[in-house]
Amino acid sequence: MTTGTVHTKPLVVMEGISKNFHGFYALKNVDFNLSEGEVHVLFGENGAGKSTLMAILAGVHRPTTGTIKVSEQEVAFHSVHDSKHSGIGTVFQEFSLVPTLTVAENIFLGDEPLKNGFLDKTRCLKEAEGYFKRLDFDIDIRKKVSELSRAEQQMVEIVKAIKADAKVLILDEPTASLTDKEVAKLFEFVHGAKKKGVGIIYISHRIQEFREIADRITVLRDGELIGTFNLNEVSDEDLIESMAGRAIAEIYPPIIKQETNTPLLLLKEFQAEGLQPITLEVKSGEVLGIAGLVGSGKSRLWRSIMGLYPATSGTVLKDETDLFRKATKVLVKNGIFYLPPDRKEEGLQLLAKTENNIKTNVLFRKDILSKFGLVNTARQQSITKQASQKSDLKSRYLKQSAADLSGGNQQKILFAKGLVSQYDIYILDEPSVGVDVGTRSGIYLLIKELTEAGKAVVVISSDLPEVINLSHRVLVFSKGHITAELEGDQITENNILSNFF
């Protein structure tokens, strides 16, 4: 399926790259090459291995097997420093910025200008200013990075990567939180760099961007190479299908909205730090999608309802009781389940067995205690089994510790925790982050079942197709308030994106 290279001189050739993390293959025998003056897109779902592949090229990880050649010389990077010295600049998705240092200090971190062996702070400031001017990014370089918005941090990250006059530039989702205007400036820069012969590797989810800048595209799925295509020879539909491994209709099941939608949760003028007062309803039998950029407040709102982030004023009504600023435990007892976005940080006890992770939640049930106040362990066990079956978790995983399972199976544990009791409202914060396609469609089926059983399901997601295809109603967040409420046919990518800023 691989087509021949358009350009002649190969800048980077990666052959047979595999990467094994604790017995789990993140990459399996992947080939990738980049020519001079080429923009090469890496495309794939979360967890497909794009970032791992680039982390290897950037010197963050070492490949388990495989060879890397840069400018026809075989290289073995032991650190980011090594790869930088071979002329590879990277804009990391997880920012490589130090929040406590200023913008200028960050730009030169690891490569500070010296004068007589001491830091040359004036030159540092002057040169940093020049870089931002050249790109027309408007940022005060004396500010600390912690004081910048996410988009501004992204700009700093970009400047940091390109300032080294790299031969190869890796841009890992550089436009994720930029405005259209800033994206246009970045593309202008990319075109300029391309003319100078710089090879650019571009990782993005935004298909609409590819045709604007890219020459070739390599698709990865579940750590495997699906193929490398010339962009003018493939259609968007083909790309999406090869990314997902199946047609879109198969991944997202049609969810039938229930006819009677009673409001289960009412927010009135609810406010938390960094949020405008918000009034909304969560209704039974429908999927409420929540879209917005990182930092838009889309997740913070629900976290502050759950008592995980300080709320300041307003009411949270459920069954006529006000749950405003109640302890998280009280909210859970009142039938609200929250699935956290970071399963390793907040969701799981990683070292505990899978079944014990789920059993903890069974303890919230009132009927679990026998009459002497002791836990009925047999009953606890059977409920745990049922819940794990419902969330499609194989029973052999129950005895293993959660840390040993794949991301997809860990996510299934989180769902099983929500299925042990009858909750009325399921708040799912990034429900499919970092899981493979198979698990995703399983998760979507669960959401379908819950909704059609009359539950209220809230899906907070940075994955636009997920929000668009699952939701009956979508709220778009921007800068701490709701910028749009979309229903039915109004839910389109354009309508959502245009309300992001």
Binding site: A58, S79, V80, H81, S96, V98, P99, T100, L109, F118
Partner: protein, 346 residues
């Protein structure tokens, strides 16, 4: 009538803006310098109103001289805190330096009683080696093996204290040559006490290191976000190793000077210094989460701790109550640290 209302509004307006100005000034002082300016002002007001001797040049000079040892240790502690760790073994560095260097000097003095400088140089070498071993132990444990700084330095502190007692059997090492104490304990150069001179040199050196060199910049970066520092091509392990070694070296210098001051090798020197140095740093606005801290403020923080102790001595507060106060101050400072950067200027 309308005019009257107008002027009233204006008066209220300026009153308000004055209040917000004061508020903004206080918040800015708090965000930039932490609790130290507030603590200093409060302490000076309290002590000088109860004791006329407190705010005199003589007493303040005295405080400055006494604070040399804590300042040295706090400078090292600051580096470690800025990387996001902390060093509980500074007391051990002091005790072990004291015991090992004095044992070596006493032994050498009995063989070559006349070679004063040889004896002292051997004492200095022993101190440096002791510091290198302790610092390398801490640094390797934390950076290579990923042991949490708390456990690593707590373990090393116990190991070191055990060694010191093992070497001396708990008895102070006496019989040091008098020149040693005369030079490093009580000596003066150009009218400045030698310990003060060494402390000033260390402060200047540390300021240059932290503000004008790459290493200093990397120390801030490692504490600010170690992952980001690594992605920027910084050898974070080497930076961590370096800071723990520097911390031990500074503690050792304090131990060497203290030994000269008390003119014997003692295992109980620096028993409270871990707590005191962390307190000095935190009060001076060094963040326990790493990445933030200024040399000049830490010097002032160490001075503040000694000044409070001096003030309490003048007021004849007992040492037990002093311990209570120090602990309370530390906890208070940390609580305030958590609220830093929470308030925004309006």
């Amino acid at each position: 009538m309308t005019e009257q209302i107008h002027t009233m509004d204006e008066a209220e307006g300026t009153g308000k803006s004055k209040l917000t100005m004061v508020r903004n000034f206080l918040i800015r002082a708090f965000n930039d310098y932490g609790v130290l300016p507030f603590f200093l002002v409060i302490a000076i007001i309290i002590f000088s109103s109860f004791s006329s001797k407190f705010l005199t040049l003589e007493n303040m000079t005295n405080v400055a001289r006494q604070s040399v040892y804590l300042t040295l240790v706090s400078l090292g502690q600051m580096m470690v805190l800025i990387t996001g760790g902390f060093d509980l073994s500074v007391g051990t560095s002091i005790a072990l330096t004291s015991v090992i260097s004095s044992t070596a000097m006493v032994a050498l003095a009995s063989a070559f009683p006349d070679m004063v400088w040889l004896i002292i140089i051997v004492g200095i070498l022993c101190s440096i080696i002791t510091a290198l071993v302790i610092g390398a132990l801490n640094g390797v444990g934390v950076s290579r093996f990923g042991v949490s700084p708390f456990i690593m330095t707590l373990g090393v502190q116990s190991i070191g204290a055990g060694f010191a007692l093992f070497i001396t059997g708990g008895v102070p090492v006496s019989g040091l040559i008098p020149e040693f104490g005369n030079i490093f304990g009580f000596g003066k150069l150009l009218g400045i006490p030698i310990p003060v001179l060494l402390a000033i040199l260390s402060i200047i050196g540390m300021w240059i290191l932290m503000n004008r060199t790459r290493i200093g910049n990397y120390i801030y970066a490692v504490g600010g976000n170690i992952k980001a520092a690594n992605l920027s091509g910084i050898d974070t392990k080497r930076i961590l190793l370096f800071t723990y070694i520097m911390c031990a070296l500074l503690a050792s210098l304090a131990g060497f000077l203290l030994t000269a001051r008390v003119e014997s090798g003692e295992t109980n020197l620096g028993a409270n210094i871990a707590l005191e140095s962390i307190a000095a740093c935190v009060i001076a606005g060094v963040s326990l989460r790493g990445g933030i801290g200024k040399v000049e403020n830490v010097v002032l923080g160490a001075f503040f701790i000694i000044m409070v102790q001096n003030g309490m001595n003048l007021l004849q507060v007992g040492s037990y109550v002093q311990m209570i106060s120090l602990g309370a101050l530390l906890i208070l400072a940390i609580i305030f640290d958590r609220y830093r950067f929470r308030f925004n200027r309006t």
